[in-house]
């Protein structure tokens, strides 16, 4: 070996592969023996059908180690040019309070948690989300707010869909004020057309007239308008109501601390972005969109809603409320496909409000407003006219022939301003602008020195009502108090830094620290999405590279990173298919075949894309019933648009006949959409292109390591074959975001959640093609090891032809109901006493648990989970055999809280020790569920979704308990 070769070996560029993958080489050998395979290659051969094997990974890089990957991303971030962007348009500079930056955004206790479906072990982030909902309710002046949406533009689109379905009889015309943000209007256009909504734009001063003439079902306005004009919109809201339309207002949260909230003006729905509450610009996202509605609309609210209920002991406890609104239950009857939201960013924004409190927020807003008035004064002093005198933080200066020169001068001085047409410039002030910067801007506009003011918030629009009066917003203003409040909430929850989260279909793999670090590099964090593209060269280089790697992974020709979630990817992919049919003169093709085993988002997305859903049958094993598929494809032949199919199947099996399935659809002129939720079983072994699909989405927050953030952010890019590439999403404001022939944007930002793309970039860079393939093999091994070790205790549903599962396995718990009355929920809650998050419950088959260990779990952790499941099985047997009471046993009473186990009285027929420490290793790091089992029925019958009445509520509960 030459010294250079020796050096190369010692550099160990593949080190991260061993860090990411849990089991060691020796453990892999042991596990293979348990599974009954001689090698990983043999195992894969028995699992993945030979006909679809093979991937060209030449586009993927060789692996580099953590230090090299971080250095590479730092260099990319430094190619972005950081200017002070005063462009506005829904994106503003903000100071992320350092205490929130480090303890939330950079803290795995918050970012590695899952969506709070298991409420008992998610009380911390549920409380933070109730704070978010309370903040949105208070600021907008409406009584019910959801726990975040993907961004402002899609929140507006969700509001429109809500209004459309709630007002069925009122026709299909939507009136939109011209001074809404342009990206919002563009997203609304894309969303409106497939479902038959006719969008009519109206000048702000003609709004009432247009409403009276058009008789729309809803009206959308921006408050303040996109260039800052602040108008009293009461008259427009009244005109909307007079015409029988709903009034939807997109509002700025910081402005609402000082101006009359739209709810008080009569608005039915208020939407917006919470970005400027402490969330970095990040070249467009992720940020938490919000939606608030009148009480009468709460059951139609899209997305997640957190409500307060009680636990089994009568103590207040939070959980996701009204889940029947969601598409996993309503499927094609759902009006929204929203699933993943922006929990991590909503938590940050809510903590910003906790940290500053109502007075602090007002002080920030007043300073920003004063800056705007001072700059307006300087402009007037400099001889310029203002387009509007009524504004909060954004002014428009009529710059006439000097527009170009002034834009250039501002750029030279370090500012991005917004050009408004040919003869005006808008400047949006924010909390990051210093006095020195304000002086520089004033001088640019010809002002002599700071001091003069002009315009501002009109007298009639000053906010009179109090907000954020709940205790939590008025307590934690000292850093110790804040630090401990966030820690207290964090400690209530189970995240990946505590134990494995074996959720089937969710791929809760490692979110490595090295992948997370670049997210907050200033060169990535401080870029405005509408900054000149030549300031975002680092982002573009990273994005193009990531796109090409994902093309390699999928076998496709092109990728769009714009969709902000898997469900949005589905929707975007179906729109691409729709546009392709239209381009070929076959726009009548509108039938979407979906197997009955599909994710609930599939039918909901198809409906949003203007398609009619036809459900096809599955056989006993959850495989597509080929005969039924053939029959339905033939029946709808000339009208067949697409098939949506998940691969490996939602039941965790590589269906042998997948190529045939795709061929049946193609023979009828249809396109095949592959749902990439289970992509973690494919990477490097097969690909969407290899199975015969035309388009797929990937969940970067599953397969490519973006953390789940407790329920978002997500990134759901789509990959397409060459013939669909001209029909990918694009963006009206940034040409680089997609093909000129594209159908328009599905997200507000050109590249969706650009700020978290470095995570997936770093993962692929550090794993390389070989590491990615290895990860898939070990993911399959871990699932099969789990199945092999548990099969004597729990029946394993669904295996492939050679007895193998893919990357997840389904444990059948239905048999325990008969003998001992034990339900699957009892098992899920009992796992919490062992410190584990339950696997996916009752999906895709009711009464089962679906386990997906991922490649990142060590053998020791797998064994711990297996021991817990076997121990629970023994408890079930004790109940079945009458050795334990059918009603009063550790399963039915799970989870057990510390308060309960340490209470003076203990009345159960089993020991406290068995309740809390069922296995020896539980003692070593006991997780105490903070509440007992949450009562969903009580909460849905008595809906409370804000924290203001929480104390009152607790008092009521105590009274009831006393009775």
């Amino acid at each position: 070996m030459s010294t250079l070769d020796e050096l190369r070996a010692l550099e160990d560029q593949g080190e991260f592969i061993r860090r990411h993958i849990g089991p060691t080489e020796a453990e892999i050998e042991q596990m293979l023996a348990v599974v009954g395979c001689a090698s990983l290659e043999q195992m894969v051969g028995r699992t993945v059908p030979a006909a679809i094997r093979g991937v060209d990974f030449s586009a993927l890089p060789a692996p580099v180690n953590e230090a090299a990957a971080i250095a590479e991303l730092r260099a990319l971030s430094e190619r972005n040019i950081r200017k002070r962007s005063l462009i506005g348009m829904g994106y503003h500079g903000t100071h992320t309070p350092p205490v929130i930056l480090r303890n939330i955004l950079e803290n795995p206790g918050w970012y590695t948690a899952y969506t709070p479906y298991q409420a008992e072990i998610a009380q911390g982030r549920l409380e933070a989300l109730v704070n978010f909902q309370t903040m949105i309710c208070d600021l907008t002046g409406l009584p019910v707010a959801g726990a975040s949406l993907l961004d402002e533009a899609t929140a507006a689109a969700e509001a429109v869909t809500l209004a459309h379905s709630a007002h069925k009889a009122k026709g299909d015309v939507l009136v939109v004020a011209e001074d809404c943000h342009p990206q919002t209007i563009a997203v609304l256009r894309v969303r409106a057309e497939p479902v038959g909504i006719k969008l009519v734009l109206a000048a702000p001063d003609k709004l009432a007239e247009v409403i009276a003439a058009q008789k729309p079902f809803a009206v959308v306005t921006q408050y303040p308008g996109t260039t800052g004009a602040l108008r009293d919109i009461t008259a427009e809201i009244q005109a909307a109501h007079a015409a029988g339309a709903m009034a939807i207002v997109a509002a700025d949260l910081l402005a609402l601390t000082l101006v009359t909230p739209p709810g008080e003006m009569g608005a039915d729905i208020v939407v917006g972005s919470s970005q400027r509450f402490g969330v970095p610009l990040g070249y467009g996202g992720p940020h938490a969109g919000f939606i608030a509605v009148k009480d009468a609309l709460k059951r139609s609210l899209p997305g997640r809603l957190v409500g307060v209920s009680v636990d089994a002991a009568g103590a207040p406890a939070m959980r996701l409320a009204l889940q029947t609104r969601e598409q996993h239950i309503r499927r094609e009857k759902a009006t929204s496909n929203i699933c993943t939201a922006q929990v991590l960013l909503a938590v940050m924004a809510s903590m910003y409000a906790v940290w500053h409190g109502p007075e602090g927020l007002k002080r920030i807003a007043r300073r920003v407003a004063l800056q705007a008035r001072m700059l307006a004064g300087a402009a007037r002093e400099g001889g310029f006219t203002l387009r509007h005198d009524a504004f909060f933080d954004t002014i428009v200066v009529e710059t006439g022939a000097r527009t170009d020169a002034l834009m250039d001068a501002a750029l030279t001085a370090g500012f991005n301003l917004r050009r408004v047409g040919d003869s005006a410039i808008a400047v949006a002030l924010d909390e990051t602008v210093t006095r020195g910067e304000l002086a520089t801007l004033a001088k640019l506009l010809g002002g002599v020195e700071l001091g003069a003011t002009a315009g501002g918030i009109p007298a009639g629009l000053h906010r009179g009502s109090a907000f954020l009066t709940a205790e939590v917003f008025n307590t934690h203003h000292a850093e110790h108090s804040m630090l401990r409040y966030m820690k207290r909430l964090e400690d209530k929850d189970v995240a990946l830094n505590r134990s494995m989260i074996p959720l089937g279909s969710c791929t809760m793999k490692l979110n490595a620290t090295a992948e997370m670090i670049p997210v907050t590099f200033p060169g990535f964090a401080d870029i405005h999405p509408f900054a000149p593209v030549d300031q975002a060269r680092g982002y573009l280089a990273m994005i193009r590279q990531l796109e090409s790697w994902l093309c390699g992974v999928t076998g496709f020709a092109a990728v769009s990173l714009q969709p902000n979630a898997g469900s949005q990817g589905e929707y975007a992919g179906l729109l691409a298919i729709r546009a392709y049919h239209q381009a070929r003169g076959e726009g009548h093709r509108n039938i979407c075949l979906i197997p009955s085993s599909a994710h609930g988002t599939n039918p909901a997305s198809a409906v949003m894309a203007g398609m009619k859903v036809v459900v096809t049958a599955c056989d006993r094993d959850g495989n597509v019933d080929l005969d039924d598929l053939r029959a339905k494809a033939a029946q709808h032949g000339p009208n067949l648009a697409a098939l949506m199919v998940t691969y490996p199947s939602t039941h965790g099996v590589f269906e042998e006949q997948i190529r045939e399935i795709c061929a049946v659809i193609h023979a009828q002129g249809g396109q095949v959409y592959m749902d990439g939720a289970n992509m973690n079983a494919q990477v490097g072994l097969t690909s969407p292109a290899a199975i015969g699909a035309d388009v797929c989405h990937l969940n970067l927050h599953k397969t490519f390591c973006i953390p789940h953030g407790g329920g978002g952010p997500g990134v759901g890019p789509i990959g397409v074959a060459a013939h669909l590439a001209p029909h990918l999403p694009n963006h009206p404001l940034v040409a680089e975001a997609g093909p000129a022939t594209g159908f328009g944007p599905v997200s507000a930002a050109p590249f969706g959640s650009a700020a978290i793309l470095p995570i997936s970039y770093a993962y692929i860079r550090m794993m390389g093609g070989e590491g990615l393939t290895r990860a898939t093999e070990v993911a399959i091994l871990n699932a099969n090891y789990m199945a092999a070790r548990l099969r004597d205790h729990f029946p394993i549903l669904y295996r492939g032809g050679q007895g193998m599962v893919a990357h997840e396995c389904i444990l059948d718990c239905r048999g325990f109901q008969q003998g001992g009355g034990v339900m699957v929920e009892d098992i899920a809650k009992r796992l919490q006493d062992y410190g584990f998050h339950a696997p996916t419950m009752s999906w895709p088959v009711s009464g089962t648990l679906m386990v997906e260990p991922t490649e990142s779990e060590t053998k020791a952790e797998l064994d711990r989970f297996i021991e817990a499941m076997i121990s629970i099985r023994a408890e079930i047997r004790a109940v079945e055999q009458g050795r334990m009471d059918r009603a009063d046993n550790p399963l039915k009473n799970a989870p057990h809280t510390a308060a309960e186990v340490m209470a003076t009285t203990w009345t159960h027929p089993y020991s406290r020790e068995q309740a809390a420490f069922p296995l020896p290793w539980v003692r070593a790091a006991k997780y105490w569920p903070p509440v007992k089992r949450v009562d969903n029925v009580y909460g849905d019958r008595n809906l409370v979704c804000t924290c203001a009445p929480l104390e009152e509520y607790a008092a009521t509960v105590t009274l009831q308990a006393a009775e």
Partner: protein, 124 residues
């Protein structure tokens, strides 16, 4: 009280003259679990047999409720709005949903109790 008739959508109806009182069956409420919300039709609405006119929700399921006959909605059970648990407690009594004044002959596929019970057994 006249005899209850049933539909294969798990609804019952009881004729009071030309007016049918309608609700969901005991089997339906058991399958749904604890009902948390009922959305009722507008009084005066003209409905066609088979049309979805109400919604019943539990914590785990949302289900449409259909008009079993053609006619006009003449009364709805407002009490369910405040206390949806009546649907579980007394599905064929205080848990009724709405009343429809029939505008023509009743459909001929309504089941009697025995036939409905046999139908439910056949689903298991």
């Amino acid at each position: 009280m006249t005899e209850l008739k049933f539909t294969k959508d798990h609804e019952w109806l009881r004729m009071e003259g030309q007016v049918a009182v309608i609700g969901i069956t005991d089997h339906a409420q058991t399958a749904l679990g604890d009902v948390v919300f009922v959305d009722l039709p507008e009084i005066g609405r003209e409905v066609t047999a088979g049309e979805a006119i109400a919604v019943v929700e539990s914590v785990k399921a949302a289900s449409d409720v259909y008009a079993p006959i053609t006619g006009r909605v003449v009364e709805v059970n407002e009490a369910l709005t405040d206390d949806p648990s009546k649907v579980n407690a007394e599905p064929t009594g205080a848990g009724w949903f709405f009343k429809i004044e029939a505008s023509g002959a009743l459909p001929d596929d309504l089941l009697d109790a025995d036939a409905y019970n046999a139908f439910v057994d056949s689903l298991a």
